[in-house]
């Protein structure tokens, strides 16, 4: 609903949106939770539509599925380290054919080919890791370590919504442990258990805009062009969706 309204630039095809809403509930037995649209990676000849199942623990591994026609879904295996390493070395557009094989003979003699499906898995993982974000306070870390939705999250205020420090990377924190005691003192351990966006490298790898006169905050990642995050201040509505080619924007420093 809102994700579509915000990222209006690349909606799934009109019929496919209907198809998605019809087929997503059918994924429940597979993912053991409600499916939601993660986004779409556009290849030259076709596009991968990606859905994910969210469990109660939001920090746990998610089950992801892809589909070429929004009706038949295939489960994606979790990404391995090798896959991630290999996918980083691949450049260029996706083909739109999961069985397409990339020639990696020059890069890696042991595994000379890589299937596009594996690249897809690795790319999704990478995007989620690098630019998957949530507003501050939307999730709480319970004492037992699992991360849950914060029932009492009422949205960021308008002033906070304009700041990058109000948004967190939804992945294991890296910078948090390096913070000084003084910086940590202002943090709330149940909410501030993630890295915020404000120290992302390079500076300015996010575009933050207020649309519709400040009723919606839209964050666009400039590192992964196509990732759009929205949040309606003072409400619980937020989310991100990726509609792009699945290529990292390595030219970013030149473009700023």
């Amino acid at each position: 609903g809102d994700a579509e309204a915000m990222e209006a630039l690349s909606l799934p095809r009109a019929g496919r949106r209907a198809a998605l809403s019809a087929s997503l509930p059918l994924l429940q037995p597979t993912t053991a939770s409600s499916g939601s649209v993660w986004g779409c990676i556009q290849g030259v000849r076709g596009a991968y539509y990606i859905a994910e199942g969210l469990g109660p623990d939001r920090a746990a591994a998610r089950s992801r599925l892809y589909s070429l026609n929004c009706l038949d879904w295939s489960l994606l295996t979790p990404a391995t380290k090798e896959m991630l390493a290999l996918a980083e070395q691949l450049q260029g557009r996706f083909q739109g054919d999961p069985s397409f094989e990339y020639d990696l003979a020059e890069v890696n003699a042991e595994a000379p080919v890589m299937k596009e499906e594996a690249r897809l898995i690795a790319t999704i993982e990478q995007i989620d890791k690098e630019v998957g974000i949530v507003p501050r306070g939307a999730f709480v870390k319970t004492p037992l370590g699992s991360v849950h939705e914060n029932r009492h999250f009422e949205g960021l205020s308008l002033a906070e919504a304009k700041k990058l420090s109000s948004y967190f990377h939804f992945t294991k924190p890296v910078n948090l442990k390096n913070k000084t005691l003084l910086e940590k003192a202002d943090l709330d351990p149940s909410i501030d258990f993630l890295d915020s966006l404000e120290h992302d490298i390079p500076r300015g790898s996010w575009s933050i805009q207020l649309e519709k006169g400040g009723t919606v905050v839209v964050l666009r990642s400039l590192l992964w062009l196509g990732l759009t995050f929205y949040h309606v201040p003072m409400t619980k509505q937020f989310g991100y969706v990726y509609f792009g080619t699945g290529e990292k924007n390595l030219d970013l420093p030149f473009m700023l």
């Binding site: 309204a5 209006a8 630039l9 690349s10 909606l11 799934p12 095809r13 009109a14 019929g15 496919r16 949106r17 030259v44 000849r45 450049q91 260029g92 557009r93 870390k141 004492p143 037992l144 370590g145 308008l158 948090l176 442990k177 005691l181 940590k184 003192a185 202002d186 943090l187 709330d188 351990p189 501030d192 258990f193 300015g204 575009s207 805009q209 207020l210 519709k212 006169g213 400040g214 009723t215 666009r220 400039l222 062009l225 080619t245 390595l250 030219d251 030149f254 473009m255 700023l256």
Partner: protein
């Protein structure tokens, strides 16, 4: 506030003494210092007589004590010597803390509130109360067990530091004391009041009706509306934006509808949006409609012949909504005038430069050191308004409702430079473009250059829809074309099958940065009067071949692919209903550029960041080659100094020559020299 005494450990937090609280009160910030007053029980409760003015605590206490009929002995004792009671509690923390001990004593209520937060923060192991069992230290089977274990905290790597803990407590308390913007209450006071009320009234099954009590307390809260010095005046940005947006929907009643001959200039944005939505591209319907209205305003204000919604380019701070228009001749002249004005400015600048050069030349005559002979390559003139890259006039605005800004015409130098750089748009037209090579202009010029490039690359139409106005012009590579009245739309399947069904209807931009080639030297000939230079230029001119590109209405099947990627991808909007399917064409070279065709209807649109796709990463332009130094030749090298022998020989030769003329004199001279 909350600064611990020297010997206090977190464990003894529960045993806060009134003395300690009083001591704290002095140190508290003013807002908190009045807390005892604000903590006084609500005046409307039946058990308490309304306190007559700000009575001191002791008197209030005594009065209440005397008026309350069911006062238990403990309470009386408490009133008699509160200090003693405290001492007792301090000695045996949490032992004799029966509910009856709590009174409507505000100070105690504050204590109670303070105690409330303790288990919540897990800062001290809560003390289990004998005979109660409703709260206390968590047993292993209880859900909250382990809350205070270090491994569940993000601070696990840190030695438990009492200072940090106290800081955490202060932070938590500050949070509780945060005043709500709506009601002016804070949770700290509220909890204090609730507990006061409970202890006063001592209802049955308190846990069950705690919500109601909380509600009652809020109801009973009396708050005086204080006068503020400043006016409460708040204009949200939402309001401003809505006001602008609303202006779009207002119809001018005084506006007289002009009879317009020919097709209306206003495009049917909603219809196009409908088709693009089939393709899964486009804007939100509301936004489309606002753009539609905004374009209507533009058409009303400017003398516009044709207008089209070009697309939307994303920026970092704001986005650009772009309208492609052809303006009526009146405007064209004006535009021309402004163009001329600009040219005049340019010329003036050049003249100034020329004058400077002339001055330099004059100085040179006076044995000045040589001046620089470098002359910048001749500037290629921009195309006239209404032709080539400047065929259309573009208007942009950041949001529908904001005023439209006319973009300046594009120059070849800007296009050539824009090809070498890749920059994000900021959304401010006057922003500088910091790049290498330096971009001649600001963001408005860069935007205009990108629009020209994108238009030239991605504006396509079904083959045969347009035809050349006449045969001659085709040969001359003119960019005049007209609609083909006999155009028979091919079936959608055919549009999808081969890319030959689509053709460009915008001229390709040459390397030079223009659509029509111009010899840069010829245009400059007048300026250069020296014959030698002219000759040189002519030689160069012979070497420089005329650039040509594919003519207008070239099929897109002839577009070069990007390595292994085809330049275009054609797709059907739906596979399920072929009867009403439309053909969608997507550019791979300019991601975000789309075209659709359905029967006689077609359109192009662009939504994106305004960058060209390249499979490789952007590589910045190389620095210009360093100029070669002057070749070492006879003009540079010096001859070797003459040796003594040479000089002697020279003299001898001279003498001989002299001797030939006048022998005697020569001998005398030689004698003199020696």
């Amino acid at each position: 506030r909350g600064v611990p005494g020297p010997g206090r450990t977190p464990g003894s937090l529960r045993a806060l003494t009134p003395g300690c609280a009083a001591g704290r009160a002095g140190a508290w910030p003013p807002a908190v210092r009045i807390q005892p007053l604000r903590c006084s029980p609500p005046s409307g409760t039946p058990h308490q007589p309304p306190p007559a003015g700000p009575a001191p605590w002791d008197s209030q206490q005594i009065r209440r004590g005397s008026e309350q009929p069911h006062q238990d002995p403990q309470q009386a004792q408490d009133q008699r010597e509160s200090a003693g009671q405290t001492r007792v509690r301090g000695q045996a923390p949490g032992q004799s803390q029966s509910p009856a001990q709590h009174l409507g004593h505000p100070r105690r209520a504050a204590q109670a509130a303070e105690q409330l937060q303790v288990p919540q923060l897990n800062l001290s192991p809560p003390v289990r109360h004998r005979g109660q069992g409703t709260h206390g230290p968590y047993q292993p089977h209880e859900p909250g067990y382990g809350l205070d274990q270090p491994e569940f905290s993000p601070y696990e790597d840190e030695i438990p530091d009492p200072k940090a803990r106290m800081l955490a407590i202060q932070n938590a308390k500050a949070y509780l004391l945060k005043t709500s913007t709506k009601s002016g209450l804070n949770l700290y006071d509220h909890l204090a009041r609730v507990i006061t009320k409970i202890l006063d009234e001592q209802p049955e099954n308190t846990a069950d009706i705690i919500e109601n009590i909380s509600k009652d307390v809020k109801w009973a809260q009396f708050r005086k509306k204080m006068d503020t010095l400043r006016d409460e005046h708040l204009i949200l940005p939402t309001y401003e934006a809505a006001e602008k947006c609303k202006a779009l929907f207002v119809k001018d009643s005084g506006e007289e509808e002009e009879e317009i001959v020919g097709p209306p200039p206003l495009p049917n944005v909603m219809e196009t949006a409908f088709y693009f939505e089939q393709a899964g591209i486009g804007l939100n319907k509301d936004e489309s409609y606002c753009i539609f209205l905004s374009l209507k305003n533009l058409v009303n204000v400017q003398p516009i012949l044709t207008c089209r919604f070009w697309g939307k380019i994303l920026g970092l701070e704001m986005n650009y909504i772009i309208a492609e228009t052809q303006v009526r001749e009146v405007e064209d002249q004006e535009g021309g005038e402004t163009g001329h004005e600009r040219e005049e400015i340019y010329e003036e600048g050049e003249r100034e430069m020329d004058e400077g050069e002339e001055e330099g030349e004059e100085k040179e005559k006076r044995d000045e050191p040589p001046k620089s002979t470098y002359k910048p390559p001749p500037e290629i003139p921009r195309e006239e308004n209404g032709a080539g890259t400047n065929k259309y006039v573009y208007f942009v605005c950041n949001e529908p409702g904001k005023p439209w800004v006319k973009l300046p015409p594009v120059t070849p130098a800007q296009i050539v430079c824009a090809r070498k750089i890749k920059k994000f748009f900021t959304g401010r037209l006057d922003a500088p473009v910091v790049s290498f090579p330096p971009f001649p202009g600001n963001e408005a010029n860069y935007l205009r250059a990108q629009i020209a490039r994108i238009s030239a690359g991605t504006h396509v139409s079904p083959t045969g829809f347009y035809q050349f106005a006449n045969e001659d012009e085709e040969e001359e590579e003119g960019d005049a074309y007209e609609e083909n009245p006999d155009f028979e739309p091919p079936p959608v399947a055919e549009m999808l099958e081969s890319l030959a069904a689509w053709a460009h209807h915008v001229k390709i931009i040459l390397k030079q940065g223009r659509c029509v080639w111009i010899n840069p030297q010829k245009s400059d000939e007048n300026a250069e009067e020296e014959e030698e230079e002219e000759e040189e230029k002519d030689e160069e001119g012979e070497g420089q071949q005329e650039e040509t590109g594919p003519p207008l209405l070239t099929l897109i099947s002839e577009d070069a692919g990007i390595k292994s990627i085809p330049a275009w991808t054609a797709q059907a909007s739906t596979n399920l209903i072929p009867e009403y399917c439309i053909a969608i064409l997507q550019s791979n070279r300019w991601p975000g550029a789309y075209a659709f065709a359905s029967g006689r209807k077609f359109d192009n649109i662009y939504f994106g960041w305004g960058h060209k796709y390249s499979p490789e990463n952007h590589s910045p332009a190389l620095p210009p080659p360093a100029q070669a130094e002057y070749p070492i030749g006879s003009e540079i090298t010096e001859t070797v100094d003459p040796t003594v022998e040479e000089e002697m020989a020279f003299k001898a030769a001279q003498e001989e020559a002299l001797a030939g003329d006048d022998e005697e004199e020569g001998e005398e001279d030689e004698g003199d020299d020696e």
